[in-house]
């Protein structure tokens, strides 16, 4: 029996949980710390209750409201309110609220050629609202785009995107983006940065070892069953002591250098500018680098200036005992000249991951044992895509919160 001392007055307001038999309101135990609850229109409390919670699409009709003469508030538990007779509520002076969660995700355009997909898009949608067509009405307001693979970003593309302020590249190379036009329009550009550098460097070393020590050619030889018959296999070339010339000492070039130093090679480089913090010898032009190198590893970006940077002159300077590895872009090398040099035996060999007209590869190369061919794969590991995704998201988040970009493209 309650006594005056033991009685705790219940100050909780009364709320009706209005639900269809099949609908329950989750987390009701939270509500009862604040409110006294009941759930039937037939209950005596219906005449005095001033607020109801409408569970899911339970209808609130004029008839419902007739049972609730004291009602002043309907609290909806969904964004939509089509099950509530809003006009009737308004007529009776009853306020109505819904459960709209505002979408704060920034809008981003996925700019891609039909044949290209952006992997891991599901990660992006937790952070951004996405669309993928320049014809969409959202094109006029979007401030950032992700450029998938080598999809071109031209002046025409930019004309469709008057509010664009950021282009996020998904590769280290940006030769498919009209950088001058972006600069003119005040549009920042980011690249994939260092996300793939290790993978590309690994692959460059793999190609070099393969060419010098004839790994693929030897593998072909063994699989052909010829070893027991022929016995002798042609000697390879020693990697140790070779002078490596790195064309483009960026992130990839630096990783290549670091690896080859461990193989007892010496490293020199050519870059647009000498790098004061780097101890490797610098050559102001690729020809001089080639004269002083046994191997050229091409890792630089493709620009107007570097188109065919490896030309007949450079190949001649590299010489009969010289080797070339290309993990940059096909157009960095005058491919016709290179094929001639290889076919005539005027150069020692080549390891090529990229070509001028992919996926077409000059067929003359297929017959050569001192050439290793690869279908533009240097970044193709699952770890590459994960890392790439992180860089893309990081750059976008920085942009939308006005913080410094992670990997802005800067002319070196």
């Amino acid at each position: 029996m309650a006594t005056e001392d033991n009685e705790v007055e219940d100050h909780r307001p009364l709320v009706l949980i209005h639900h269809l038999p099949s609908f329950k309101l989750p987390l009701q135990d939270r509500l009862i710390t604040h409110f006294r609850l009941f759930d039937s229109l037939a209950s005596p409390e219906a005449s005095s209750v001033r607020a109801l919670i409408c569970v899911g699409p339970t209808p609130v009709t004029a008839d419902t409201l007739d049972h609730l003469p004291s009602l002043r508030l309907v609290v909806g538990s969904s964004a939509g309110l089509d099950h509530v007779d809003l006009a009737e509520c308004r007529r009776r002076g009853i306020a109505v609220t819904n459960n709209e969660v505002e979408d704060h995700r920034p809008l981003v355009l996925i700019h891609h050629l039909p044949s290209f997909e952006l992997p891991l898009q599901d990660r992006l949608i937790t952070h951004f609202r996405l669309f993928d067509s320049l014809a969409s009405p959202e094109a006029s307001s979007v401030r950032a785009l992700i450029c998938v693979g080598p999809t071109p970003v031209t002046a025409d593309t930019l004309d469709h995107l008057p509010s664009l302020r950021l282009v996020v590249g998904s590769s280290a190379g940006l030769d498919h983006v009209d950088l001058a036009e972006c600069r003119r329009r005040g549009i920042a550009v980011t690249s994939a940065g260092d996300a793939n550098s290790e993978n590309v460097a690994d692959y460059a070393v793999a190609l070099l070892l393969d060419v010098l020590r004839r790994v693929s050619a030897a593998d072909r030889f063994v699989r052909s069953g010829l070893w027991p018959q022929i016995g002798e296999y042609p000697l390879g070339c020693k990697l140790g002591g070779k002078r490596i010339g790195i064309v483009g000492l960026g992130s990839i070039g630096s990783e290549v250098a670091k690896r080859l130093v461990a193989f007892v090679c010496t490293v020199a480089y050519n870059s647009r500018n000498k790098k004061p913090s780097v101890l490797y010898p610098y050559y102001a032009n690729v020809h001089d680098l080639a004269v002083n190198s046994d191997v050229l590893v091409v890792c630089c970006a493709l620009t107007n200036e570097t188109h065919h940077i490896i030309n007949k002159d450079v190949l001649t300077a590299l010489g009969r005992e010289g080797f070339i590895i290309n993990v940059g872009r096909g157009a960095l090398v005058d491919e016709k000249e290179l094929v001639q040099f290889l076919v005539q035996g005027e150069i020692g060999g080549a390891g090529l991951d990229v070509f001028e007209n992919e996926p077409n590869v000059p067929k003359e190369l297929f017959a050569l044992d001192n050439v290793v061919l690869s279908p533009h794969l240097a970044i193709s590991t699952p770890e590459s895509f994960e890392a790439l995704n992180e860089v893309i998201i990081a750059n976008l988040k920085a942009f939308f919160s006005s913080k410094p970009l992670l990997s802005p493209f800067e002319q070196e």
């Binding site: 593998d219 020693k238 461990a262």
Partner: protein, 313 residues
């Protein structure tokens, strides 16, 4: 010294052959058939044997050459030489360490990269004209893979140094721990195999290391693991290796040596996760010449009664 008769056991190097012919009275074992003729006519004059990984100097040969003073091996491996017999008879033995260390380590790295990044398979893919039809699939990143080395001698250490430049954590199993290195030591090969992704065999072949990579080790390495062998074929139980690869119990293998060279198990020829080389670890122009020079220098030193350059016995 052209009165000194030297026996060359097999046609291992044209350059070495010429050097020997220029300096000594060279007898070529493979010029005689059957071998019995050779023993009848030459056995008493031969004072030196130059052997290699194919034919060295076993007990039978040593016993048949009463004037033998020195065996100069055109290899660093000594498994084809009866060292105990040489010791008993006071016969000197030299090999060719150091000059081939870098090249063999480079082949180990070449195999590791080729297997993980499927370089040979990619090259085949392009040469077959398949690229226009579609892309090659993803491969695994090499940098950062855990590398376990069996035998941290000269070659094992050279491999470790190279793999480190790729950010690979290095662990090893050796007869004895090497505290001067920072690499993680395991006291047995099973624990090493459990704790690495790429297992490299770089130790000498002895009675103890015969089939050191057996079924148990292969199972410990597992379906994602890769075996690289630049030691001797007999380090690995080859039939077990083949069935593990065929059944997918081992992730891949890069092999330069086999139990019964030049025979290579044909079942491997169709596998894309395997790279096969015909025992070319030290086969570069520079290194083979350096090895030959070392063989010659050791022989000359011996017959001039000077200290041997790279004696084993």
């Amino acid at each position: 010294m052209d009165s000194i008769t030297v026996l060359m056991t097999s046609p291992m190097s044209d350059y070495l052959e010429k050097q020997l012919k220029d300096r000594f009275n060279l007898v070529k074992l493979w010029a005689y058939s059957p071998k019995t003729d050779f023993f009848k006519h030459n056995s008493h004059s031969i004072r030196a044997v130059v052997g290699n990984t194919k034919i060295g100097a076993d007990a039978e040969l040593i016993d048949s050459l009463p004037e033998l003073e020195i065996v100069s091996s055109y290899s660093v491996g000594l498994d084809k030489i009866d060292l105990r017999k040489c010791q008993e008879k006071g016969i000197r033995v030299t090999n060719t360490p150091d000059v081939l260390t870098d090249d063999v380590a480079d082949v180990a790295m070449g195999l590791m990269l080729a297997v993980t990044r499927r370089v040979c398979e990619c090259d085949r893919f392009v040469r077959r004209g398949l690229w226009p039809k579609g892309d090659f699939r993803l491969t695994n990143k090499f940098s950062g893979m855990q590398v376990g080395i069996v035998g941290l001698g000269r070659i094992g250490s050279a491999i470790a140094k190279r793999a480190e430049a790729f950010g690979c954590p290095i662990s090893y199993y050796s007869r004895s721990e090497k505290p001067e290195t920072n690499y993680k030591y395991f006291s047995n090969i099973i624990d090493l195999a459990v704790n690495c992704q790429i297992l490299v065999v770089a130790c000498a072949l002895t009675e103890e290391t015969h089939h050191i990579v057996n079924r148990e080790v292969i199972d410990a390495l597992g379906p994602e693991g890769i075996l690289i062998n630049i030691g001797r074929g007999s380090h690995v139980d080859e039939p077990e290796l083949v069935s593990a690869l065929l059944e997918g119990r081992l992730g891949g293998a890069g092999l330069d040596v086999y139990e019964n060279e030049p025979e290579v198990p044909e079942q491997l020829f169709g596998l894309e996760n395997v790279v096969l080389m015909p025992h070319v670890g030290s086969d570069t122009v520079e290194t083979t010449d350096a090895m030959a020079d070392l063989v010659i220098k050791n022989l000359e030193a011996h017959f001039l009664k000077k200290p041997l350059l790279t004696p084993v016995v």
